[in-house]
Subunit: 688 residues, 2 copies
């Protein structure tokens, strides 16, 4: 059944659990009554079609068409990988920025694909029919998966579009989303990283901010600029404090349906434990970095990533410890438990989850020490690759559905590609990290037998040193040879990492099985049951957890209380120069220094130009690059972050302080006109 | 014995309890070794004499001489009362600012007196000798007081200076401080309140800030500008992040020696109870304000005061609930208890204080409802005045030392003056507040008999209405007639407020006696014993609690962690224009709007001029207007506030986040030169 898109079914059910403008709404189910009641605004079907078709999905982020000639707007940090990819030893576009003076100079980004959501089909009924009565849970799940795959392929064949299966409400609804794929995407303009990421990691996740975090691409088709049917017009008026805003984008993942026991587990135990581990890891990397400038360069990105994670997790923890918020969550949970009390399938699910968490607690330290699904084992990327090679040889001998998940046919190509990717390899760094990982693993009581076997009586440093220095796996050609050599090559290999991987293989499989059976599958099954009970009780008066599919959220430009005062809703270019002058160019490795161009052109720039604004919208990672529009549907801003108070948004939304942070549309034009001599782009954007 | 000032006795004792640059040090006891060890700087005796003699004490604040012609610098909010006093219906110097174009136009402030600390004498030994062996505690205390008074008078007679007795370390030391009094003080320049208090109550107690919170006075003698022996030279170089700064001023009061039980009592019970009361009171005033614009005008200052108190107390509470800080305090307390365990005079003092707090808890609601020592009784200023009149008639019939404290000879003049002061009187407001106060008092269970008597079966509103409308005490002439008429006039008065006051008198005295005997005297006595034990254990390696006498604190200009990021150590004029543009002129009743002059002169102002800086110094209320100097002794800034994290400083100092907030000296010159056309003052200041 093909549903008309966005049939604005009136949502009659009350939504008592929702506060403020909470919600990452799917386009088929916008809370139009609430929107009308609160803001006196009802979007027309044409308005909704227009904004949806103007949106784009980036790898890990969001974007939009902003001109009739296929100009695309997203964040600098979403386009950063492409900008990096196009740089070479003579051109550092990350540092210096990039501007194509003519269309001929626009640079194609190999491999970059963008997606427009053309249609969505609700296939819930058909999926339901595929489940024969009396099937056990796991069998039913499998039948649904198979049916979904079948429908997906049918639709793809029929439409020629890219079809993706989407599970909403943890199984309350199944959809196929149909995308037009754009494969010729060219870089048009990128500002300097220093102004895009002004304030560096210190200001990351905070507000007030001063980041020109945008990049322009252009979609081509048949070698010519693509003319999208829809693109967002640029605002003529700008936005002011209190104005209603809408954000369309692809929020990646939330856990708002986690039980209060799961939130307590995360806030009181799992996240603090993880943060302490990351802090120790940061310390290990910092010690390594201190040894030389070259060492420091090698690990700068890793340290930055750790800082970022520590900051984010610390924000999660503080949200999970907010008593008022957790009281609200427990109250809603009790309400749901009361409604679900009569259903034997779900009544015991909360207890089942608590039991699984108790098991997880006992296995937690070990699960942190080794996670063979990620690239590294005991923080050694070589050992991780070795384990993949060992398993590749044995797993591929099995039929696909019997293999470990990452070795199944659907995933095999990606896995092999990742295994052979050419990355800089630093043996000293590898040794340091393996030493750290072994030290962590050996800190468990009792020490796991495989760790004892690896150490063989030596210190972690000695064991790591021996394995890394004796291994040739740092060379992708060696890995490729082992991969192609199959079981025989693995059996004959004397590479110490391969030998260690063989020791790790069996106990790691056993541990993984235990985690899957006693923890992960229980959490998934009973989490799903609770989610379905919730869907049964409240239906589509609620929104589904984030799934990296197109959503809309809305709310006003708004100040909030923090730091003892009211935080200003806007910043200006003048505020950016204030920061730069206040800190000076040296502080925090130049975090608040300005690119030369911005110093040279200061007199031309109007200091009162609005730069960044904060608005009460419900966004999360994946929304980066989302367009912000007003009631007219005009583009007024560009999401690039949330404030520090938005971090608990992973678990719940607090409209009092949770804010999206967006580059003001006026800042982009002012910069193109006055700083980058790119008036021709500003004119293209203005020519609505 | 007259001690040479500032004999820089080397402080040899370790100071394990002190963290960072904690300390409000007396000038006779600076931590010179720590200063040398931490900053490689040792002030000379001449340096110290020079800066001390440049300092001034204002009523409730601090200031300094900044020119050879007696020009004085303090905060606008310290000088605000004077600026208000000189305003009239045709001249609103608060709103419009003030500038004397010539010395002839400088305006004398009637009654304003400033003080320079010329000398300090340690009289501890002589005071000790006045206590005969075997005296009971209270007798001994009395003997000390009498002896101190005697010494004070002797010194005053001998030197012609104003001598004041100062008790340090809760009785560990007794001093006489000798001041030169300046009685002809004239207003020279004041900026507009709007730029002095930019950001209003929202930004109060916070950072980053943008407040030109300064005012200039000039001291005259014999009708001519006074030429002080010492004045602070203005910086030529300015100050930068990390530079060492010194602050000299008059911190008013701290309770850093409170026991952990007292801190818990304050943080968990007393302050939250008080905050809730103030919030209810604010609500009552806001309800009153809503009725008309005139009503709103009448209570604006009161509401502002309440907001300020609520904000400050909320800051105290958050400090008192900081687990790490309280753990440190308990650890230090345990250390002291161990040292004092053998002394029977103090060993039981902690328990005695706990017992008194338990009593206080029971009496707390009632003590909040009526505080006859302050101006109002049950929030009625008329009833407060009536009670004073009733008691004045009976108390003055007794010998001075037998009277309630505020009626003793030394205090009588002030009390009478306050009673007769002419203030605007608004019967409707008075009724609303009395209604509120009676409602609060009647909320106690059991309702106190005197409250029952006042209500006499009526609602609080009816009782208040009847008393206020029937009373003539709003007229100062009526109060004066009753005061002068003595006991007879009071006995014959039929004024309903006088009649109510007679009902309140006896039970209020009884309640006050109970509070004094069972709570206040116990806390004072045992608090004193603990303080003396502390002084015995650590001596002058520690600093005494604040006493509104001259102290020095020091520390670097420094960023700190807040709001998820590092807070910039400086702000600039550009940042001020950013705030103004970001908020617009309407937000929060124009809190971030700029005076016209600042908009008109924007092009002349260098936006990068440093405006306000944050530094790690240990200050508190009373330090307002304190000069900030560098190692050269040059003036680099002007204290006007602390950040929100400094509020717990009332109880303890946390150098990680507690910051003093100072106007940068460069901002003052830039404003005088470019905005106020007062280059002649800038030249006088620069002419060191």
């Amino acid at each position: 059944m093909r549903l008309p898109l966005l049939a604005l079914a009136a949502i009659l059910a009350a939504t008592p659990a929702l506060r403020a403008d909470e919600g990452m709404w799917t386009f088929d189910n916008l809370p139009v009554q609430k929107l009308k009641a609160d803001y006196g605004f009802t979007p027309s079907q044409a308005w909704l079609d227009h904004v949806r078709l103007s949106c784009l999905r980036f790898p890990g982020g969001s974007g939009s068409f902003i001109s009739a000639d296929g100009l695309v707007l997203t964040n600098h940090h979403v386009g950063r990988g492409s900008v990096q990819q196009l740089s070479d030893k003579d051109h550092d576009y990350i540092k210096d920025g990039f501007l194509a003076a003519t269309r001929g100079e626009e640079k194609k980004v190999p491999g970059l694909e963008l997606f427009t959501l053309m249609a969505m089909e609700n296939v819930t009924d058909r999926v339901a029919k595929a489940v024969k009565p009396g099937l056990a849970d796991q069998e039913a799940q499998k039948a649904r998966k198979i049916e979904l795959g079948r429908i997906q392929k049918e639709i793809q064949d029929r439409t020629g579009l890219t079809a993706e299966a989407v599970t909403l409400y943890q199984g309350g609804e199944y959809w196929i989303y149909e995308y037009k794929k754009h494969t010729d995407v060219r870089l048009v303009m990128a500002p300097e990283q220093q102004i895009a990421f002004f304030g560096g990691d210190s200001d990351n996740f905070t507000f007030p901010r001063h980041n020109l975090d945008f990049t322009l691409f252009r979609v081509y088709e048949d070698g010519q600029p693509y003319h999208p049917k829809d693109h967002l017009n640029w605002t003529r008026s700008g936005v002011k404090n209190g104005d209603l805003t809408f954000v369309m984008g692809h929020p990646g993942a939330t856990e708002r349906l986690a039980t209060s026991a799961q939130m307590a587990f995360a806030g009181d135990f799992a996240l603090p434990t993880r943060v302490r581990l990351l802090e120790r890891q940061r310390k290990a990397l910092q010690d390594y970095a201190k040894l030389s400038g070259e060492n420091a360069r090698q690990v700068a990105t890793q340290i930055f990533g750790l800082e970022n994670s520590i900051k984010a997790m610390t924000g999660y923890i503080s949200g999970l410890r907010d008593k008022a918020a957790q009281d609200r969550i427990r109250k809603a949970e009790k309400e749901l438990q009361a409604k679900a009390a009569a259903d034997p399938k779900v009544a015991g699910s909360w207890k089942a989850i608590e039991k699984a968490l108790a098991v997880q607690k006992g296995l937690f330290a070990q699960s942190l020490a080794v996670n063979a699904r990620s690239g590294a084992v005991y923080e050694s990327s070589l050992l991780g690759q070795a384990l993949t090679l060992v398993r590749l040889a044995s797993e591929t001998a099995l039929p696909s559905e019997k293999r470990l998940e990452e070795f199944r046919d659907a995933n095999l190509e990606t896995l092999k590609k990742r295994l052979l990717v050419k990355r800089p390899f630093y043996p000293t760094l590898e040794t340091a990290m393996f030493t750290f990982g072994l030290t962590e693993a050996a800190g468990n009581a009792p020490v796991p037998p495989e760790v004892k076997a690896i150490l063989a009586g030596r210190t972690p440093a000695a064991a790591a040193q021996a394995a890394v220095s004796g291994s040739a796996l740092g060379d992708p050609a060696v890995r490729q040879a082992l991969m192609e050599g199959g079981l025989k090559a693995i059996q004959e290999s004397k590479d110490p990492m391969i030998l260690l991987a063989k020791q790790v293989d069996a106990p790691n499989r056993a541990f993984r099985k235990r985690m899957d059976e006693q923890v992960n599958s229980v959490l998934a099954e009973h989490g799903g049951r609770i989610a379905k009970a919730r869907f049964a009780a409240y239906g589509k008066s609620l929104y589904p957890d984030a799934t990296f599919t197109l959503r809309m959220t809305y709310g006003p430009v708004a100040s909030y209380a923090a730091n003892g005062t009211h935080i200003q809703p806007f910043t200006t270019f003048g505020g950016m120069y204030d920061r730069a002058a206040a800190w000076g160019p040296e502080a925090e490795h130049g975090a608040w220094s300005l690119p030369k161009r911005w110093l040279d052109r200061r007199a031309q720039v109007n200091p009162d130009t609005p730069f960044v604004f904060a608005h009460a919208v419900d966004i999360i990672g994946g929304n980066s690059g989302s367009p912000v529009i007003d009631k007219q549907g005009d583009l007024i801003g560009l999401i690039f972050d949330g404030n520090i108070e938005s971090l608990p948004g992973h678990f719940y939304y607090d409209g009092k302080v949770n804010r999206g942070i967006a580059v003001d549309a006026r800042a982009i034009l002012e910069a193109l006109d006055k700083v980058y001599d790119a008036g021709f782009l500003a004119r293209e954007i203005r020519a609505n």
